[in-house]
């Protein structure tokens, strides 16, 4: 006992003397690491020590050199904490350009704030921005945090920030020999070093060094798929007093079902009876489920409330029934309870939601921290149906681009089961427009335009429905690039069937659409759907080109022109066909009818990084084609 203490003491002395010798002068950073870097992590370490199933000590240390003002935020010390994860000690030192100490700080200088956005969330944040204005400077800090659970361990991702280079970064995981873990290494130069320390504990360690700063590259895959990282999951754990163990998704799902979901779907008699009443006479179970889903939508709304077991456990259905609100967990659980009242089985599904990347749960590595949302799955025979329960308006069976086409974990009575949400094809994500316009002799445009939205585009006009007429007009005038657009009538309707669609019909008029000058008419051929985006050029691109999902646009516009005119310029006729997309645009004049046809399609998928220049050219040609200006001149006779 005494000897152990002395040994510990010696260790501390040694550490301090090592630190004192370390020189953090900015000039010592290798030139290789400077391009695109606003700051350089000199040394970062995260040490996790599992002392017991309900006692974990984290030690974080970071030394970062900020090269210019853009890097200030990288040195912002931000520490999340809550009643279960308690900050133990924080201290830091600020060095000038030459590595000389100029200031120091401790916890008392930190601001403590709530993490907003929810009705309630016990998570808080302490933060401190070192007030240094001469560059470069270096901030070195360390702190300890205690946690009472062993279910979730943070990922180690040493290079996860744009503009930050890394000299050294390490991750050390210490535990008793009988505490078993599973881990997953991604894109690492070398595997874990596993040793036993003097106390007989098992030590896993990882290290990387000399990582160049990441650059922002449009159409990049999900960071997790190309950055270096280590994920760790326990085998046996305690989570806020609840014990368990798992080595795969099936077992994790079983634990979730038994420990977090049990006895939370009871409803009172009146509600059950009401469900039976409203579904009476409906024989098709899918239509029954739709009716119940719509009832749930009319009865509830989404509010984020992070109370309960670590944000993983849903409120009881009874409570949602009474309060009429809940978060995604509570609303899915409530919907399940309502469905059960009509004898329809369903699954509570854990998913990583997000529009930019379709992120799947890792099939080969089960862990509790891979998702951020809950959706509902109703496994009808040969017709598995999905629903998001947090919206009051979307149709039953519609997921949209928030949770489409990805692997999710369904919690079933038999345990966890990995499933795949439906994929929307490029053809399914359609925006199709038909317009019939007249160009008057004074240059005014007049006529009707109908647009149909399908697939993930179904929601494109949701922000417009139910707005006041004035607001709708204002928003449409902003959306469409038709100057002086006056809306004579506007109608938006939604088909909420199992293949939902939204239809917008506008009757409009726009004076001066065509400029009349010296007997000629000038106007833009593409009135409503002009592409203006071209992906930015990237020197020495590193990542493959990732397109999360396909989409398509079909436009057909007919103009009735003033009589007796002909086209002066070469006609627009473009046809591009690439693996990632297609574009055609053409025009045809027959008597006084000018017809414009445009088709655009983008195909979801991952393409070699060399095709990025093609993608730029593709969009660039579309932008040009969409700018095509018609010039009409008086026909000879």
């Amino acid at each position: 006992m005494m000897r152990g203490f002395i040994l510990g003491f010696c260790l501390v002395i040694v550490t301090i003397s090592v630190k004192a010798q370390q020189n953090y002068a900015a000039g010592l950073i290798s030139k290789e690491l400077l391009p695109y870097a606003s700051s350089v992590i000199r040394d970062q370490s995260m040490t996790v020590e599992v002392k017991d199933l309900d006692n974990v000590v984290y030690h974080f240390r970071k030394v970062i050199t900020v090269l210019n003002k853009n890097g200030d935020e990288d040195a912002h010390v931000v520490i999340y904490h809550n009643i279960n994860d308690i900050i133990k000690s924080v201290k830091g030192v600020i060095y000038n350009e030459f590595g000389q100490q100029v200031d120091k700080f401790s916890e008392s200088k930190f601001d403590d704030e709530s993490v907003g956005g929810s009705l309630f969330d016990s998570e808080r944040v302490k933060h401190y921005l070192p007030p240094v204005t001469s560059y470069p400077y270096t901030v070195a800090y360390e702190y300890e945090e205690k946690s009472k659970q062993t279910l979730v361990f943070p990922d180690w991702m040493p290079d996860n920030d744009v503009g930050v280079a890394v000299e050294n970064s390490s991750y050390t995981f210490i535990c008793k020999p009988d505490f078993k873990i599973r881990y997953k290494e991604t894109n690492l130069p070398s595997n874990a070093v596993i040793t036993t320390n003097a106390q007989g504990q098992k030590v896993y360690s990882w290290h990387v060094g000399n990582l160049k700063a990441l650059k922002r590259e449009p159409f990049s895959p999900y960071l997790r798929d190309y950055a270096s990282s280590v994920k760790i999951a326990p085998v046996n754990f305690i989570y806020y007093g609840i014990g368990g163990s798992f080595t795969n998704w099936a077992e994790l799902g079983k634990w979730y079902n038994e420990k977090l979901m049990a006895n939370r779907q009871a409803l009172d008699y009146a509600t059950i009876q009401h469900v039976k009443d409203i579904t009476q006479g409906i024989t098709d179970s899918k239509l029954k489920a739709k009716k119940i889903y719509e009832y749930m939508q009319s009865r509830t709304h989404y509010i984020s409330v992070q109370v309960g077991i670590g944000g993983f456990q849903p409120f009881p259905a009874m409570e949602v029934d009474k309060e009429s609100y809940g978060d995604c967990k509570a609303l899915v659980n409530y919907t399940q309870a309502l469905l059960k009242a009509a004898d329809i089985d369903s699954y509570y599904c854990i998913v990583q939601a997000g529009r930019d990347h379709n992120v799947s749960l890792l099939r080969d590595f089960a862990s509790m921290d891979q998702a951020n949302h809950i959706i509902l799955c109703v496994p009808f025979k040969n017709d598995t149906t999905w629903a998001d329960c947090t919206s009051q308006t979307i149709p039953f069976g519609y997921l949209g681009d928030f949770t489409d086409d990805r692997t999710v974990l369904a919690i079933t009575p038999e345990g966890g089961k990995l499933m795949r949400t439906p994929k929307y094809s490029a053809e399914a994500n359609l925006e199709s427009r038909k317009a019939d316009f007249t160009i008057n002799t004074d240059g005014a445009l007049q006529g009707s335009m109908t647009t149909v939205f399908k697939g993930v585009n179904y929601e494109n006009r949701d922000n417009l429905i139910k707005e006041t007429r004035d607001e709708q007009t204002k928003k449409e005038q902003k959306r469409y690039p038709i100057n002086n657009m006056e809306i004579e009538s506007l109608n938006i309707s939604q088909d909420k069937s199992f293949t939902p669609s939204t239809t917008e019909t506008i009757m409009l008029r726009a004076r001066d659409y065509a400029t009349v000058d010296d007997g000629k008419y000038y106007f833009l051929l593409n009135p409503a759907n002009r592409e203006t985006y071209v992906p930015a050029l990237v020197r020495n691109r590193v990542n493959d080109v990732y397109i999360s999902r396909g989409e398509s646009e079909v436009d057909e516009v007919t103009y009735t022109l003033p009589k007796g005119y002909m086209l002066e310029k070469k006609r627009l006729n473009i046809n591009i066909d690439k693996p990632f997309g297609k574009f055609t645009a053409s025009m045809e004049l027959k008597d006084d009818k000018l017809t414009y046809k445009r088709k655009f399609q983008l195909n979801g998928g991952i393409y070699n990084k060399d095709s990025y220049q093609d993608l730029i050219d593709f969009f660039s040609e579309i932008v040009d084609a969409d700018k095509y200006s018609v010039v009409l001149i008086k026909a000879a006779n």
Binding site: V132, T133, S324, Y325, E467
Partner: protein, 660 residues
């Protein structure tokens, strides 16, 4: 749009007991619950059926003077789009360093709805579902969500706040983003206290009553009557925000109060708070967190002396101090007009706007320069109340230094601002100039600055269809500041140019030079050698068309609405000039040169001019857009909109090249 409301004791009727004006809690009518839409605004998702607030200066639970504020509202919710009205946040302020936030009590909330069987039900908020959250050191929130919301329900809630900040009599927002059937605010002010009241916005009060409430305030033998004021408004429309609107605070209907003076109830000593500017001047001068900090010139002497050593010119001295201050401080994102201690801020390199700029005024004064502090209201804080002198509208302070007959406004919180230039957020209405030894006065904040840019593209059309030549871009005034900020977002000029080129897919920036990035008082000049893919090849068959508005072409009108009831705020006057010089291959000639265009806005508000000069096998085309005002009145809106429309029309024209 700020008008005074009269509070005068002689105008009051005396009444013994004043009846409570609040509406009864827990009472709804069948018309209210059966309502399916609001007749006066059929597209509203919700309507406030009744709203009542009461402020009373009183003796609080711990025998101190407090402001008791009661709030009570009843809202009809038609559909789920307005469900957010059912999530309530009660913000509580703490102006001290310890945890003494304002206190909330008597929270009561209930939802009335028809259940699935059409029966009227009510659902009450449970106390354990009220969540207190300490947001930061100044603000806490009590949050709750009304239970049982559904389409067609009515929510009703009330609460009471006890606040030690009795001098900040709560203002009242008559108008909100949903319409209101009726809203009333009742204020009880003991005669020991005198406040000014004013109303903002375009709407009129339907009730404006003043009465005397006898012996309403008693404490330790001191007693007095109160004035009871009731402000009511019926049929209040929802407030709708527009683009190019300075601040909705300027236009939304509200009632605001300003403490004028008070008598200490215990010793009878009268304290003047607001009356005339000379009183405010005195207040600020003697305020330790304002005048007190401006007086600390000797404190800064040692710091300033080496900065100005050897400099004889006042302007050079002022610039040296300003630069030093910009480099010294990291702004901590707090704004305000009071500095607790400029020395503490200087020691830590970190400070609020007041810390940074009040210390700058002191430092300039310490160097023997004539420096003053200018109090302003930032753009999002709204226009100043100029009806009577008040300090409460000011939320920002900058320095002003007077050298010869010139004066310069300075804000040292941003290291990229040139000497004499203020950030956009400060260019609002008027500022009040304060100094320790002169009476204060107003200055106009909006007229002084301009942004100006000019592009010169000089290129030759090559046989391969590409344009080759140079592009020079001058950014002057505020534009130079914005350009610098854009450049400094990158670690090096090279990375900036890479990014710029990344956004121009048809361009190759072959060589680049950017001048004056760090010479803040000079224009930013960018030179590029460029190659532009114009045509795939020089097509001989038909005419080649070229838009002479190759740079900076406007294709959509930023002003969309047919008419407008609020002024259009463009921030500041601006000028954009583009010149394109194009040299053609020998065998080509221009067939249709662009027509000359000259447009103007009334009262010299702006102009748009094009000029075409034909050369030998080349031409030069210039177009210039100028806006001379920062704000255009609602009555000028159609002209500005049409001005853009005409520019867009003229820019549709194309030049045709023909083979000779």
């Amino acid at each position: 749009m700020i008008k005074p409301l009269l509070i005068a004791f002689f105008a009051l009727f005396t009444v013994g007991i004043v009846a409570a004006q609040d509406f009864e809690f827990g009472k709804i009518t069948s018309e209210e619950i059966n309502m399916t839409k609001y007749a006066k605004d059929t597209s509203a998702h919700a309507v406030v059926l009744n709203e009542f607030g009461k402020s009373r200066i009183n003796i609080g639970s711990n025998d101190r003077i407090v402001l008791m504020y009661e709030y009570h509202v009843k809202i009809k919710i038609f559909d789920s789009k307005a469900f957010e009205k059912g999530t309530v946040q009660i913000p509580l302020y703490n102006g001290s360093d310890n945890d003494s936030y304002e206190e909330v009590s008597n929270i009561q909330a209930v939802t009335y709805y028809r259940d699935d069987n059409g029966l009227l039900q009510k659902s009450e908020l449970e106390n354990k579902k009220i969540y207190p959250v300490k947001e930061n050191k100044h603000w806490a929130n009590y949050k709750f969500a009304l239970p049982g919301l559904r389409n067609g329900c009515i929510i009703e809630y009330k609460f009471t706040i006890e606040s030690p900040y009795w001098d900040r009599l709560r203002s009242w927002h008559m108008q909100d983003d949903i319409p209101k059937v009726y809203s009333e605010y009742e204020v009880h002010i003991p005669a020991f206290f005198t406040f000014n009241a004013s109303i903002k916005g375009y709407l009129k009060l339907t009730k404006n009553k003043a009465e005397i409430e006898t012996k309403c305030f008693e404490s330790h033998g001191a007693a007095c009557d109160c004035s009871q004021l009731n402000y009511g408004m019926s049929d209040i429309p929802a407030f709708v925000e527009d683009d190019y609107m300075t601040s909705k605070k300027n236009f939304i209907s509200s009632i605001n109060f300003e403490l004028v003076e008070f008598t200490n109830p215990y010793d009878g000593v009268k304290h003047k708070v607001t009356k005339e500017w000379k009183d405010l001047d005195y207040t600020l001068k003697t305020e330790s967190e304002f005048g007190g900090q401006l007086k600390r010139k000797s404190l800064l002497k040692d710091r300033i002396t080496p900065l100005i050593a050897g400099k004889t010119d006042d302007l050079a001295k002022a610039k040296a101090i300003y630069r030093y201050w910009q480099k010294w401080f990291k702004w901590n994102d707090f704004i305000g007009i009071y500095s607790e201690s400029i020395s503490k801020a200087i020691d830590t390199h970190s400070g609020s706007i007041a810390d940074i700029n009040l210390s700058l005024v002191t430092a300039l004064g310490s160097a023997g320069l004539n420096a003053e502090a200018v109090l302003i209201s930032t753009r999002d804080n709204g226009a100043l109340n100029t009806l009577y002198p008040t300090l409460t509208d000011f939320n920002y302070v900058v320095a002003k230094v007077n050298i010869g007959d010139q004066n310069y406004m300075l804000d040292a919180s941003n290291p990229l601002l040139p000497f004499g230039m203020l950030p956009m957020k400060c260019l609002n209405d008027k500022g009040r100039v304060f100094s320790l030894d002169k009476p204060s006065y107003f200055v106009d904040m909006s007229l002084s600055q301009r942004e100006k840019s000019s592009y010169m593209l000089d290129v030759t059309l090559q046989d391969n269809g590409k344009l080759k030549g140079t592009l020079i871009n001058y950014s002057t005034g505020y534009k130079a500041f914005e350009r610098r900020a854009a450049i400094k977002k990158f670690n090096t000029i090279d990375e900036y140019v890479e990014n710029l080129n990344g956004k121009l897919p048809k361009w190759k920036l072959l060589k680049s030079e950017v001048d004056n990035v760090d010479s803040l008082d000079m224009p930013v000049i960018e030179h590029y050698d460029v190659e532009i893919n114009l045509y795939n090849k020089l097509d001989n068959s038909s005419g080649l068309t070229f838009s002479p508005y190759y740079l900076g072409k406007i294709t959509t009108n930023p002003l969309k609405l047919n008419e407008r009831s609020f002024p259009v705020d463009m921030g500041m006057a601006s000028e954009d000039r583009y010149t394109i010089t194009l040299h053609l291959p020998a065998q080509y000639t221009v067939e249709t040169p662009p027509a000359a265009v000259a447009l103007g806005l009334p009262n010299n508000g702006g102009k748009y001019i094009t000029q075409y000069d034909a050369g030998d096998n080349s031409f030069s085309f210039t177009y210039l857009t100028q806006f001379n005002k920062s704000i255009y009145g609602a009555e000028e809106y159609p002209y500005v909109k049409e001005f853009f429309n005409k520019i867009i029309q003229s820019q549709k024209a194309e030049i045709v090249f023909k083979k000779k």
